[in-house]
Symmetry: C2
Subunit: 165 residues, 2 copies
DNA sequence: ATTTACAGCACCATTCTGGTCCGATATGGT
DNA sequence: ACCATATCGGACCAGAATGGTGCTGTAAAT
């Protein structure tokens, strides 16, 4: 269905939770799970991964917990996705050459790389700080595009297909 | 890994193949599978789905096959993805309200909807005609953004994390 | 009537995902 | 020193989704 995994979804919610806490004392996994209403073992697992990858700082022992490793302004959605989900690659050939055996035949490779870069940039342009703010977007060409989209709700009408799962 | 399914990937390649054939006589599943070097039963299944959803016109019997239902300029990548993969929804709450039980707690819902719209629009702005063309992009604010991205290869340097699978 | 080729559907193996659990280790407090 | 608290690093598991196959039926052309 072209969606992020729950792991990533939860992970970003947890990061946002950490970013929106006023003080910077570490929060432990149980507290975070409770305040986000997510399954505790799952939360624990995700936090571990985020710490291992350097997006969170972990503190062991009593009074331990997790803190953001950087300022919310310096943590992009793209990076969180990459850490939890792996690299953004809509198709195999979207990253680079010689990953797909059909290269010589397939004419669609290069356009995919462009599309991929657009999506990645859209995600890189939103930071954790934007997520916990009311009006979410600020800088960059794509942010401008976003605002334009918000103004005109349906620029090119496309019928919603009668798709059944 | 945040990627499209093979079904969608193949489907778009097949659509592109049909868009790039000079004459508009129908191509059958076997021919398409051979020229794209993809497993024939899989190709057949995907073409059926595309025809059922109205993106292709099927012709039965001998000399039958598949044709594009519309001009390549009128078939967007977003639509092909939606037909083959389902609606674009990066998270559960990205579409609308009351799909997620955490709404009252979660502060991240609205930003996700915006991000989702950006991604969807990026995909809606590229048509099948663009995919089979050399210089792929034309109109719209996002297309401009894409060209800008192409000019400056790495606008905001982000370290590539030492991620292992 | 025969051949060609799509339509629909059931089926299967493998992988991925969401979720759980446990022993080890580090820290703070008593 | 000891204990409670928490993270760390695994293994582990059930169920769903994915990629891929096969078969029967039906429409069209010769």
């Amino acid at each position: 269905m072209f969606r992020l995994s729950k792991t990533t979804d939860y992970g970003i919610v947890l990061m946002a939770q950490l970013a929106s806490t006023p003080d910077r004392s570490p929060l432990n996994a149980r507290e975070l799970a409770a305040s986000a209403d997510l399954p505790a073992p799952m939360v624990s697992k995700i936090l571990k991964a985020l710490a291992r990858e350097g997006l969170l700082i972990s503190q062991r022992g009593s009074k331990g917990g997790y803190q953001l490793a950087r300022l919310p302004e310096e943590l992009s959605v793209s990076e969180m996705i990459r850490v939890l989900e792996g690299p953004v690659a809509l198709t195999d050939c979207a990253i680079g050459p010689t990953l797909c055996s059909h290269e010589s035949l397939c004419a669609v490779r290069e356009p995919w790389q462009v599309i991929n870069r657009v999506v990645e940039r859209a995600l890189a342009d939103v930071t954790l700080a934007d997520l916990v703010r009311q009006r979410p977007l600020r800088r960059g060409a794509l942010a401008e595009g976003i605002l334009q989209i918000e103004r005109r709700p349906e620029p090119r009408p496309e019928r919603s297909p009668t798709h059944v799962d």
